[in-house]
């Protein structure tokens, strides 16, 4: 097994490079992604190697980044759009939900809308407003789109390539606070399919589900709980839409308890959907109501206090205690 250690940022960079080598129709578009290599350096060096026609420094206009990707898709190209920060995706919202998501249907299948819209999301980097949001529920709700998120360098390397190869449009959520953390990357074999969830840690008492930056917090919580005698199974959802609900249900049938962790507010969230689906499928196995640990229902706070907004190990363990202490 050819494995190597790299950061998630580097893994994404290598994944993009490999996808561009494989398919000459793959183009990258975004603000400051060429000469600068992107504000997070995810596309570092790619314009030098693939040229300005394939790594396009775009004007500052998100709707146009996505809207022109639609035209390129119609012409047979496959664009990977970088949205610089989560909070900047909304100017492109109309193109994403009205055009990208619907044109395959509107054209009776004549248009293949394969494209990847990369969004560095979630908080934890001490940024100013609009740089720490979790917009994934908006997109998960839109038929025609698929939404995925990586949490490790290995997933980043493989999922970006799998997303580029996929024929449906993919909203690719990257946990920006984990960009610089290192991990093992297997350069030969993907860890799973693009829409598969993965068990990150096995356990017997509670199923803890998360994605993106929350995964690391979930694993820490599981470790702490273990010391206190509670065995937590940690599942990385990876695909937010569609959900790999089968794998989650299998776990909940075993543990009888579920807690979902996310940074977005919980109203109409991914966690709401997971809990609802699991309640429906595992009703007789559940020993406590499913809980969500989420961001609060407020605009993302000034980041001096963001760690009291984002799910923490303590808040997760509090939810674990609640499901463990539930008497029916």
């Amino acid at each position: 097994m050819a494995t190597t250690t790299m950061t998630m940022a580097k893994a994404l960079n290598e994944g993009l490079r490999r996808a561009m080598e494989k398919n000459p129709k793959v183009l990258l578009m975004g603000e400051d992604i060429g000469r600068l290599g992107g504000v997070f350096r995810i596309t570092d060096g790619l314009q030098k190697d693939f040229g300005e026609d394939r790594v396009i420094d775009s004007p500052l206009a998100e709707s146009a980044i996505v809207g022109t990707a639609v035209g390129l898709a119609i012409r047979g190209y496959r664009a990977v759009c970088e949205i610089q920060f989560d909070g900047f995706v909304y100017p492109a919202f109309d193109q994403i939900v009205s055009q990208v998501a619907k044109l395959h249907k509107r054209s009776d299948g004549a248009y293949i809308m394969g494209m990847v819209i990369r969004i560095p999301f979630q908080g934890g980097i001490g940024a100013i407003e609009h740089h720490s949001e979790s917009p994934e529920p908006y997109f998960a709700q839109t038929a025609g789109l698929r939404v995925v998120s990586c949490s490790t360098p290995n997933d980043a390397y493989w999922m970006i390539q799998q997303s580029i190869e996929h024929d449906d449009p993919i909203i690719f959520c990257e946990p920006k606070s984990r960009y610089w953390e290192k991990g093992e990357v297997d350069l030969e074999t993907p860890p799973a399919g693009l829409f598969d969830a993965l068990v990150r840690r096995e356990g017997t008492d509670v199923t803890l589900i998360g994605y993106g930056a929350s995964m690391k917090t979930c694993l820490r919580a599981a470790e702490t709980a273990q010391a206190e005698g509670t065995s937590i199974e940690v599942i990385d959802a990876r695909s937010i839409a569609p959900l790999d609900i089968e794998l989650m249900a299998k776990s909940v049938e075993k543990t009888g308890r579920v807690v979902v962790v996310q940074e977005s507010p919980h109203t109409a969230s991914v966690g709401s959907e997971i809990v609802s689906e699991l309640t429906q499928r595992c009703f007789y196995s559940l020993r406590a109501p499913g809980l969500r640990v989420s961001g609060y229902h407020v605009p993302y706070p000034p980041t001096r206090i963001e760690e009291d907004y984002r799910p923490t190990v303590d808040r997760i363990l509090d939810a674990v205690d609640r499901v463990m202490g539930f008497e029916s």
């Binding site: 183009l27 026609d53 775009s58 004007p59 206009a61 709707s63 146009a64 996505v66 809207g67 022109t68 990707a69 639609v70 035209g71 390129l72 898709a73 119609i74 012409r75 047979g76 190209y77 664009a79 100017p91 109309d94 193109q95 009205s98 055009q99 619907k102 044109l103 395959h104 249907k105 509107r106 054209s107 009776d108 299948g109 004549a110 248009y111 293949i112 809308m113 394969g114 038929a143 025609g144 698929r146 996929h166 024929d167 449906d168 569609p242 609900i245």
Partner: protein, 355 residues
């Protein structure tokens, strides 16, 4: 219509106009062809309005008054070009070869599109106006990367000209020198909003601010529209970059069959524009200069009537789709929620469709 910068080759009376910048390159047969196109799409439009009034269409967006703008532009295109329309481009669709009945599938509410856009190189209708201009620019960027001598063309109106996506499309087209032509039909009204509310300057002037040429053409003069569009497309195909064409015209009919224009505009204005009819002026030219006989004009009317009869028959034959088809092409690849929905519909006995 006093505007010295307006390109016009034919007056409303059908008299030729000398232009320093453009001259008509078309012979009598070709002009007769444009006349035929305009008569047919006008007939198509009137038949569709009737079908809507008779309850056979959910809605119709008429083009009466804009036939020259659409046929002039549509016939300037070559098969390799690709067009991005709104829901009011029936004349363009006709020129691209889209079967008339397919144009009505959207309005009969049996489809969200209606035709194979790759086959006719004419995209499906855009309802959220402005978006299609960015698609045209992206497509043009693809043409550049393929090194092809082709162009894309975006259609929009004076109303959509206020959309941010149109501005972004102008910026991108200019920055990348994209082979795209922006064709704005200024029909004076965005439903009830006059074009003076959309822009305080002539719309074609906007192009200069973005760094590419803008031209205003008499949108009711098919010869002028043809020449102006042809030159813009030729320029785009060989690396000359984008052009904005403002076809100055008028929407004689309602915005759609749900609209009542008597609430916001006066009859006198409509009457003025009726005297600038795009079809009549070409007919006058053909009769005078090319000695086209009444029998030839009658034959075109006959052909239009035959088309309309066929259209009516085709539309009435469009039945309610099997509900299970709503799951088709929602995604390109298998999706668990699509399978779940299909199964539920079959279990409920709503559809006889097989998985």
């Amino acid at each position: 219509m006093i505007d010295e910068e307006l390109v016009q080759l034919l007056t409303p009376e059908g008299e030729r106009v000398e232009s320093s910048d453009y001259e008509s390159t078309l012979n009598g047969d070709e002009i007769f062809g444009l006349y035929r196109d305009m008569v047919i799409v006008r007939r198509l439009c009137n038949e569709s309005t009737s079908l809507q009034r008779q309850g056979q269409l959910a809605l119709w967006a008429p083009i009466q008054g804009q036939e020259a703008a659409q046929i002039g532009a549509g016939r300037a295109l070559t098969p390799g070009d690709f067009t991005f329309p709104t829901y009011r481009e029936h004349g363009i669709a006709w020129c691209r070869g889209v079967p008339p009945a397919d144009m009505l599938r959207l309005f009969r509410a049996v489809s969200n599109g209606g035709w194979d856009p790759q086959k006719y190189r004419h995209s499906v209708p855009t309802v959220v106006l402005g978006s299609q201009c960015l698609h045209a620019v992206g497509y043009a960027m693809g043409i550049q990367r393929d090194g092809a001598e082709e162009a894309s063309m975006a259609f929009f109106g004076d109303g959509a000209s206020s959309q941010g996506d149109v501005m972004e499309a102008f910026v991108w087209a200019a920055s990348f020198n994209a082979p795209v032509v922006f064709f704005c039909q200024n029909n004076q009204w965005g439903i009830s909003t006059p074009s003076s509310v959309q822009s305080k300057i002539p719309l074609y002037h906007r192009a200069h601010g973005f760094g590419f040429p803008g031209v205003r053409v008499d949108g009711n003069d098919v010869l002028a529209v043809y020449e102006v569009t042809k030159r813009a497309l030729e320029s785009a195909r060989v690396g000359g970059g984008p052009t904005l064409i403002e076809a100055y015209t008028y929407r004689i009919g309602a915005h759609t069959t749900s609209d009542d224009p008597t609430r916001y505009r006066i009859d006198a204005e409509v009457e003025v524009w009726k005297h600038r009819d795009p079809v009549e002026r070409v007919k006058a030219l053909l009769a005078r200069e090319y000695k086209v006989k009444n029998a030839d004009f009658d034959a075109v009317n006959q052909e239009a009537d035959t088309m309309a009869l066929q259209l009516r028959e085709d539309v009435l034959a469009m039945s309610r789709p099997d509900p299970i088809t709503m799951f088709d092409n929602a995604y390109a690849a298998p999706h668990p929620l699509i399978e779940e929905g299909r199964r539920e519909m079959i279990d409920l006995g709503i559809s006889g469709g097989a998985l």
